[in-house]
């Protein structure tokens, strides 16, 4: 199965072009996820279509579940109505996320790409609306080179971003995907490395110094892997 049983995503918008654009954007970061657009009415007008939403849910569902993102109020009404008409067993694995369309779709798609289960993908979408309030830069001394093991058990590495676009969408997604493969909690300048939107909200650009850290004694491998990726330039050199 090409999608590896991943959760599928449906993007419901009043505009066919908007839905298609959000799908394109999300797919860039989640190439193996079924992300289906349901934009506009059956005949291409502005609005939402019960039939298109129903078809998109069917196409997105690999049997593990679907998360639906909606733009404006009546898109939610249409999605809820479509859910009412699903078979009961399918309806149980479809969720409508209360999330902003673009941020929610991207966050949900990255979580789905990482193989997260249904409820985790929903949470990823719904936590995407907080604006990723980026806290201030981390305190702490300058540790260069390989991971430092501090007295508190904190492990950290500082690297400098060398790729032209810094931690923008695709590199941020790669970093989050890598971080998600480790069980330990790792931070990037104090921000959870598994939270795509929060990482992107840091707005880190070329030349910025970045601290990759964990308080987990077992996290040295994760810190090194993420620091290696971040200092590699993400293939953009």
């Amino acid at each position: 199965m090409a999608d590896g049983g991943r959760i599928g995503i449906v993007v419901v918008s009043h505009s066919e072009q908007l839905a298609a654009g959000v799908v394109e954007l999300a797919h860039q970061m989640a190439p193996n996820v079924r992300i289906e657009p349901a934009g506009g009415t059956d005949d291409g007008r502005i609005g939402t279509s019960f039939e298109l939403v129903t078809a998109a849910i069917g196409a997105a569902d690999a049997g593990t579940g679907v998360v639906v993102l909606c733009d404006l109020g009546s898109a939610i009404l249409t999605a809820e109505t479509a859910m009412d008409f699903l078979d009961e067993d399918q309806r149980e694995r479809v969720r409508i996320a209360d999330a902003p369309l673009v941020e929610g779709a991207v966050a949900a798609s990255v979580a789905a790409e990482s193989g997260d289960p249904l409820e985790t993908v929903v949470r990823a979408a719904e936590s995407a609306g907080g604006g990723g309030a980026a806290p201030g830069a981390p305190a702490g001394g300058l540790g260069e080179g390989p991971a430092d093991v501090g007295t508190s058990g904190r492990i950290s590495r500082r690297i400098t971003l060398t790729n032209s676009d810094g931690l923008h969408a695709r590199p941020a997604a790669e970093l989050v995907k890598l971080a998600s493969t480790f069980s330990q909690r790792v931070t990037v300048n104090g921000i959870d490395a598994k939270s795509l939107l929060a990482i992107m909200a840091l707005g880190l650009v070329k030349g910025d110094e970045v601290e990759i850290a964990t308080d987990d004694a077992a996290g040295a491998g994760a810190v090194d892997a993420i620091a290696d990726l971040a200092s590699s330039g993400f293939g953009e050199h």
Partner: protein, 223 residues
């Protein structure tokens, strides 16, 4: 025409079909008006969508099998509106007709109590779907007075047709009463205070549809 004159006359498949035909006619007639109302505080598609949805029902009425009930007609309206109306009105009215249909399922003819059940289930479906409350400046502000008036009339011994008549009048008054309200649900809520002074288009289309139901019923009793 008092309760004695019409109390025994129930509303059957002929009434239901006539309601839908009259509904389609009145929505076509008021299409531009509903578009204008919706343009003032919404996205301007309500008149177009309602007209399109009801016009799509009309040819399907001819295909209803013999022995169909009023509930079958309402269910046909529901599924057609849900699949053809692109705005909020599709899911909302679709749910209303679907729940209304379920409330009178299997009945070949409905009495005043049946009218109340139908209206109440429709209103409850809209509330469940749209999560609007009375006073939010939505179609609920036409439906709820209609349900309350219908129940009072039916409890007082009114006929089915009379019950629909007071319901339609109450819906019209409810639509009027949306004019000063500030919208708290739907697209108009984005306008905040600026939504005051405009009639809610959904409340007005509800008033037109219940007027059509009442007219179809009085036509049936007088014929």
């Amino acid at each position: 025409m008092g309760p004695l004159g019409a109390a025994e006359v129930g509303l059957d498949i002929t009434w239901a079909v006539d309601w839908v035909r009259r509904g389609a006619e009145t929505l076509s007639e008021h299409r531009v008006e509903l578009i204008t109302l919706d343009r003032e505080i919404g996205d301007g598609d309500h008149g177009e969508n309602m007209d399109r949805g009801f016009q799509a029902v009309l040819p399907k009425l001819d295909d209803l099998p013999a022995g169909s009930t009023p509930a079958d007609v309402l269910k046909l309206v529901a599924t057609t509106l849900i699949s053809t109306v692109g705005g909020a009105a599709g899911p909302l009215y679709g749910t209303a007709f679907l729940k209304g249909s379920a409330a009178i399922a299997g009945e070949s003819s409905i009495d005043a109590a049946g009218v109340v059940s139908l209206l109440e289930a429709s209103r409850d479906g809209i509330v469940a779907r749209g999560k609007a409350e009375s006073g939010d400046k939505t179609m609920v502000d036409a439906w709820t007075p209609a349900v309350d008036a219908a129940r009072a009339a039916a409890d007082g011994g009114a006929s089915a047709a009379e019950t629909l008549r007071v319901a339609a009048d109450a819906a019209a008054a409810g639509s009027d009463a949306t004019i000063p309200l500030v919208a708290r649900k739907g697209r108009a809520s984005y306008l905040g205070e600026r939504s005051a002074g405009h009639r809610d288009p959904g409340a007005q289309s509800t008033a037109y549809l219940l007027e059509a139901a009442a007219a179809a019923a009085s036509n049936g009793t007088s014929a």
